[in-house]
């Protein structure tokens, strides 16, 4: 790659460095599909065969509850794409038309939030339609798991839905800025608006607790995140797999099992399946 130099210096500009960084990441990400096939959990164990014993122990424990994993592309959109597939697949398999109707109501509320925040409808209507078309297809029984896999691998559909989730995540955060502000400032030092502008709305920006909480609340969908990292509890004596259930406030009094279960490894989310 030829380096383009700026006029008054001999060092590449920051935006050129960033462009290169993104190009490298895109190239790496391009090596795997947006969404992989369902694989037995043993493939995860194989990855760590020569690695850290804490991971091996944790994967064994993981195997007591979860039986399979579906990988997503590590392009910074993995949380949103994993959520898209996992949620819709769960709707399909449970044939839960009531839930499909309920989430459509949530989508309408999200739309109103975005309008109230001053977004022109044309900026998000196509993305919104991409998501509701999947919900329609669930309700009309015209969607199969195979077709859903195809849709999640189709860049036009998949990126549209991801962008819709980014929109409503940003909308939820800004609507409840007072609630989110301490978390955002605490981890990033940014103001709410700036965080949404630079870390939520652009494609490829990675997600953390703030994004997950906001999306879960915006759509009213509980999300479980299972953490696979090298942390150990009780001064190193116990090795447990930690998880956290993000439960939307209207469901907080109930005992709910999240329909979406994701495996988090630092910087990346894949989909988990219970046995």
């Amino acid at each position: 790659m030829e380096m383009v130099l700026d006029l008054d210096g001999d060092r590449p500009r920051d935006d050129e460095i960033m462009a290169q960084h993104y190009a490298i990441r895109a190239e790496e990400a391009g090596k795997i599909s947006f969404l992989g096939n369902k694989e037995p959990l043993s493939t995860l164990a194989a990855e760590y065969e020569l690695g850290n014993s804490i991971f091996k122990t944790k994967i064994e424990k993981l195997g007591e509850i979860y039986g399979a994993i579906r990988r997503t592309r590590g392009d910074g959109n993995c949380f949103f794409r994993a959520f898209m597939f996992s949620y819709l697949e769960n709707l399909l398999e449970t044939k839960n038309n009531l839930e499909a109707a309920r989430v459509k109501d949530s989508v309408e509320k999200c739309k109103q939030t975005l309008l109230d925040l001053g977004h022109a409808e044309f900026t998000f209507e196509d993305f919104l339609a991409s998501f509701t078309e999947q919900l329609d297809a669930v309700q009309d029984v015209t969607l199969s798991v195979d077709k859903l896999v195809d849709n999640c691998r189709d860049q036009a559909i998949s990126d549209s839905v991801v962008m819709f989730f980014r929109f409503i995540t940003s909308g939820e955060i800004r609507k409840r800025a007072d609630f989110f502000e301490p978390f955002i400032f605490g981890t990033s030092g940014m103001a709410v608006q700036q965080f949404c502008r630079t870390s939520v709305e652009p494609m490829g920006e990675e997600s953390d607790h703030v994004h997950i909480t906001a999306l879960s609340d915006a759509l009213g969908v509980p999300i479980r995140i299972v953490y696979l990292d090298s942390s150990v509890g009780d001064g190193g004596k116990t090795v447990e797999v930690n998880f956290h259930d993000f439960i939307p406030s209207e469901l907080s009094q109930e005992k709910v099992k999240p329909p979406v279960m994701l495996l988090y490894r630092p910087g990346h989310y894949d989909i988990l399946y219970e046995k």
Partner: protein, 187 residues
């Protein structure tokens, strides 16, 4: 070519219009011609919105009959050194818009820390922080606020950046360049 992509250009009150709902379903981008069509439709909506609720100080319109190429105008905000000046910009939209940002450049030469001699603009939302949440209006408003609030840490024009602290002198140099350029580049 007309700008009408087969849909009534009605950015407001579209909700519940069955004709539009149906067309937005068909326009789920699956292949290139459809995609181009939906981008044209999106740009058409943007144009209507800009024309109906124009913000003071920014405007834009397609150049000739190509909906993918626009000319925008920004007026310098009151209370900034650019007060009273008007700048033309070109906006070129890729077929992946709004997933990819448009290429935006100053046509009118602009003396500014974050604008180079060719009119290229260094603004994060046009580069790595681009998001599909932006539209022509918000892009132009962002550039308008960049005029009055430059990012002097990573300048394209280091002379302008160095001069910025002295606003009186800055305006003098900037006005001279503005007048020279409009004289030479009168169209």
């Amino acid at each position: 070519m007309s700008f009408d992509g087969g849909v009534q250009p009605n950015p407001r009150g579209q909700q519940g219009n069955p004709a539009i709902d149906a067309s937005s379903k068909q326009s789920t981008p699956m292949s290139n011609p459809v995609e181009t069509h939906s981008v044209a439709r999106r740009l058409q909506s943007e144009l209507m919105a800009l024309m109906t609720c124009g913000d003071p100080g920014v405007s834009a319109f397609p150049e000739g009959d190509n909906i993918f190429s626009w000319i925008g105008t920004i007026k310098g905000s009151a209370g900034t050194v650019y007060d009273g000046l008007s700048y033309k910009l070109s906006l070129r939209f890729p077929t992946e818009y709004p997933f990819k940002s448009p290429t935006v450049k100053f046509d009118t030469p602009c003396f500014h820390p974050n604008v180079d001699q060719y009119g290229n603009i260094c603004l994060d939302i046009l580069q790595d922080k681009w998001s599909s949440a932006y539209d022509v209006r918000t892009i132009l408003l962002s550039i308008q606020s960049l005029l009055g609030e430059p990012n002097n840490d990573s300048p394209l024009n280091s002379y302008a950046a160095a001069l910025w602290v002295n606003q009186e002198e800055y305006r003098k140099v900037m006005l001279k360049q503005y007048r020279d350029a409009s004289g030479v580049n009168a169209r």
